[in-house]
Amino acid sequence: MSALLQLTNVKRSFGGVHAVDDVSLEIEEGTIFGLIGPNGAGKTTLVNLVTGYIRPQSGSIQLQSSPPLAGEGSVGAVELARRPPHAVAGLGVARTFQTLRLYRNLTAIENVLAGMHLRRRDDTLQQLIPVPAFLKEDQRRLQQARELLERVGLPPERFGERRAATLSYGDQRRLEVARALALNPHLLILDEPAAGMNPAEKDRVRALIQQLNQDGLTVLLIDHDMRLVMGVCRHIAVLNFGRKIADGPPETVSQDPAVITAYLGTQAQKTAAHVPGSEEMDVATTSTPASIEPASPLLEVRDLQVSYGAIQAVRGVSFGVAKGEIVALIGANGAGKSTILNSLSGVLRPHSGGARFGDLDLTTAPPDRIVSQGLVQVPEGREILARLTVRENLELGAWARRNGRSAHRDIDGLMKQFPILGQRRDLPAGQLSGGEQQILAIARGLLAQPKLLLLDEPSLGLAPQMVDTVFDVIKRIHNDGVTILLVEQNALRALEIADRAYVVETGRILLSGTGAALRRNPEVQKAYLGG
C-alpha cells in the first residue's frame, strides 16, 4: 500500500479569499477517501486543482503513475500541478462534476464512447474507409461501452440509445460515472455524486461506489451527505475555510470538536457533551407539530412540494410563522431550505401545496406583488451589485417605492443605523468585506418595508467575528418589529436567536421545536453529521 495521490502544502486563493490554504493529503491506493466540509470550504476547488482545471499557486500534487495511460512512459511519481486537464486525465485521473456535465444531446452510449477517447487507438483515417475489419473494431468498442453502462446499473438495451438529457437525474449521475470509468482510471474523483438524490437513490450510489472499490479502484469521494461518506470511507479529511481541520478514520473525525464546530457553528461543543433525552419535553416530532404551531400565523405553508425537473427538492413541508417571531429553518447543505424560501418569494413556483401570507396566495402571486405586500427576501450569496456604490445599491433597493422623498429619508436613516454602510457610502459595493456586503443586502431588503423578512444564509462564508455582527443586525431589525424567517447552515447560531426552528433534511421537516430546545437536541447534530 502506498500513496496514490499526495498533496503537499497546496495553496490557491482567489482575490483575497484562501480557497485552498496549505492543504496536505495522502490518498492510499485501493481505498475510498472521503473529503467533507461545509459549503464554501474549498472541496471542489481542491478537485479542480488536482484535475488541472485550476492551477495551484504553490505546493505539489504527486500521482504515482504505474502504468501510465498516455503521455510519457515514466513510472513513479508524476507532478500534476500545472498540467492541463486532458493531460491529468491521460495519467489516469477521472472525475465527475458537482453540477452534472453530460453531453446532453448525445446518447448514453455516445457519452461513454467519448469517455473512451484516450484508451482507443487513433484510427480516424482508417475509419474513413469502410473495410469490415475496421468496422469490427467499432463494434468491439461499442460492446465495451455497453459493458460500462451495465456496470453502473444502466442496462444498455434500455438506456443506450437514449439522449443523456432525457434520463432521470439519478441515471444521469450514473452515466457520468460510466463516462469517467471509460477512461480506465487509477483514481476516480466523485464530486457530490449523491447531491439531490432521495435516500433510495443514495443507497444505490453507495453500493456502486463500494462495488467499484472492490474491483480495485481508488476513489476520492466528496459529498455533503455524512451518512454516505461515513458509511463507505475508510479515511476522511475535513476542510473548512480552505484549511484541513481534521484527517483520520470516520469514527475519530465525527467526534472531532473542530469538525463539529465547523458544521454546527460556534457552540456545538456544549451540545456534543449534552446528555441525550433530557429535553425531550420541549421537542415535537414532525408527526405532532401542532403543539408549537402559532394559532394565526402571518405566513402559513401547507404541504409544499417543489421539484427541479426530475429532482424533488422539497417533499411536502408545512410550517407557520407568527407576527413578531424569528423562525429558523436549519439543515445541511442541499436539504431544500433555500428552495423553500425561493418558492415563498415567488422566484420558484411550487409543484403542489399551499403558502399564504396574510390574504395573499404566494403560490400564484407575482413576485413584485409579494414584495409590495411586505414579504421581502435577502437572497443567498447577497447578490449585491459590485460595481455600484453602497448608496446606489440602496437607491436601487428603493426603486419600486412610489414616494422618492421618503425613500431617501429611509436611506439616510439606514446609513445612520448601520454606520458600516454610512462610512462607505461612496465605495463600490464590491470592495466591502463579505459581512459588510451582507449588511448592505439586508439594508436593501429593509428599504422595501418588509413585514416579513426572509434571510437566506446570512452568515455564509463569513469569518466568526463578522457572523456576530450580522446576527446583531438581525436581532436589531427584529426588535424594530420585523418578523424574520431565517435559513442557516450555522445551526447553533441560528437557534440562539430563533424563537422556533425547523430542522430540514432531504426536503422534509425532520424536527421542530423552540430554539432553546433544539439547541440541546442531539438529533440536530445527527441531521448534519449523520447518525
Binding site: 486537464p85 486532458h86 462534476f97 467519448a114 474513413l128 469502410p130
Partner: protein, 306 residues
C-alpha cells in the same frame, strides 16, 4: 413549376439549360460542408469566405505565372488555405461564441481590404482574369467532389475525431476531463474547414472567367452561414440541403427574382422560429411544428387529464 417539370420530364435538357446553376449548387454544397465541420465541433467561425479567396487567388495566380497543371494549382490553393487557417487559428481559437465569430469576420475583411486590394499580384481590387477558366469542363470535378467530400465528412463524424468534436461541442470542460485535448481538436476542425473552403474557392475559378474580390466579402460568409442554419447542423446532410435549397430557390421562383434577398431573409426567419434545428434537424426531415405548438399541445393534454 416549369423548373420541376423539366427536371423530371427532360433531365438532359434540364442539365444543359441549368449547368451553371448546378455548378453553383455544387460549390455552395462544398462550402456548406466546410462550415459544418466547425459547427460540429461547436465553433461559430465565419472565416470561410476568406479561405475561399485564398484558394481561388492561389489557383488563378499559379495558372497565370507557373506552368503547373491545373489540379496542382488547385491542390496548392486548398493547402495554402489550410496553412493560413492554422496560423489564423492560433490566436483566434482561444475565443468562443460570438467573439470567435467577430474575430473570424475580421479576418475575412482584413484579407480582402488589407491584402487583396493592396498586393499587385492579385490585381489590386481590379480582379484577375482566369486563363484556365472552363465553365463547362469545370462542372464534372465539382459534381464528383460533392459526394466524395460528403461521404468523408459523414464518416469523420463517426470516428474518434468526430466523437471528440461532438463532446467538445456539448461541453468543453467535460471533454477535457475525458482526456480530449480541446484546443488541438478545435484546431483540427478549423484547419479541415479551411482546407475544404479553399478547395471550393479553387473549384469555383473553373466556372468563372474572372476572380473578383467582392465575391469574398462578409456577405458570402453570411450566405454560407445561412446554408447551415436553414439546413441544420446535426449531420452533414443538413447544410448541404440548405445550400441546394437556397441556391436553387431564385431559379424556382423566378417571378420573385428581384426580391431574392428578401425571400432568403424571410426563409431564414421562418426557419429560426419554427425549425431552430434546421430542415434536416434531429429526428430526420422536418414536419414543421414549432416548439411552442407541441408545448401548448402537451399542456392542453395535461389539463384535460386533470
Amino acid at each position: 413549376m416549369d423548373f420541376f417539370i423539366q427536371l423530371f420530364t427532360d433531365p438532359v435538357g434540364f442539365y444543359n439549360q441549368h449547368e451553371l446553376l448546378i455548378a453553383q449548387i455544387g460549390i455552395n454544397a462544398i462550402l456548406a460542408i466546410s462550415i459544418f465541420v466547425t459547427f460540429y465541433s461547436g465553433q461559430l467561425t465565419l472565416a470561410n469566405a476568406g479561405f475561399m479567396a485564398i484558394g481561388a487567388y492561389t489557383t488563378v495566380i499559379m495558372s497565370l505565372y507557373l506552368p503547373t497543371p491545373l489540379p496542382v494549382d488547385m491542390l496548392v490553393g486548398a493547402l495554402l488555405a489550410a496553412a493560413i487557417g492554422f496560423l489564423v487559428g492560433l490566436p483566434v481559437l482561444r475565443l468562443r461564441g460570438v467573439f470567435l465569430a467577430i474575430a473570424t469576420i475580421g479576418f475575412v475583411e482584413a484579407l480582402r481590404l488589407g491584402v487583396i486590394l493592396n498586393v499587385p499580384i492579385t490585381g489590386e481590387g481590379q480582379g484577375l482574369k482566369n486563363p484556365s477558366a472552363d465553365p463547362l469542363g469545370g462542372i464534372l470535378p465539382i459534381l464528383i467532389s460533392v459526394p466524395i467530400l460528403t461521404y468523408l465528412v459523414w464518416r469523420l463524424t463517426h470516428t474518434r475525431l468526430g466523437q471528440a468534436w461532438a463532446a467538445i461541442r456539448e461541453d468543453e470542460l467535460a471533454a477535457s476531463s475525458n482526456g480530449i485535448n480541446v484546443p488541438a481538436y478545435k484546431m483540427v476542425a478549423f484547419v479541415i474547414s479551411a482546407l475544404v473552403a479553399g478547395y471550393a474557392g479553387a473549384l469555383e475559378t473553373h466556372i468563372n472567367f474572372f476572380v473578383d474580390p467582392t465575391e469574398y466579402s462578409v456577405t458570402r460568409t453570411i450566405q454560407i452561414l445561412t446554408f447551415a442554419v436553414v439546413g441544420g447542423t446535426t449531420n452533414v446532410i443538413g447544410p448541404i440541403v440548405g445550400a441546394v435549397f437556397l441556391t436553387a430557390l431564385p431559379e424556382i421562383v423566378r417571378q420573385f427574382a428581384a426580391y431574392r434577398d428578401v425571400v432568403n431573409g424571410v426563409i431564414l426567419i421562418l426557419v429560426i422560429i419554427f425549425r431552430p434545428q434546421g430542415i434536416v434537424g434531429r429526428g430526420g426531415l422536418a414536419i414543421i411544428a414549432p416548439r411552442w405548438w407541441t408545448r401548448w399541445r402537451t399542456r392542453e393534454r395535461v389539463t384535460a387529464a386533470h
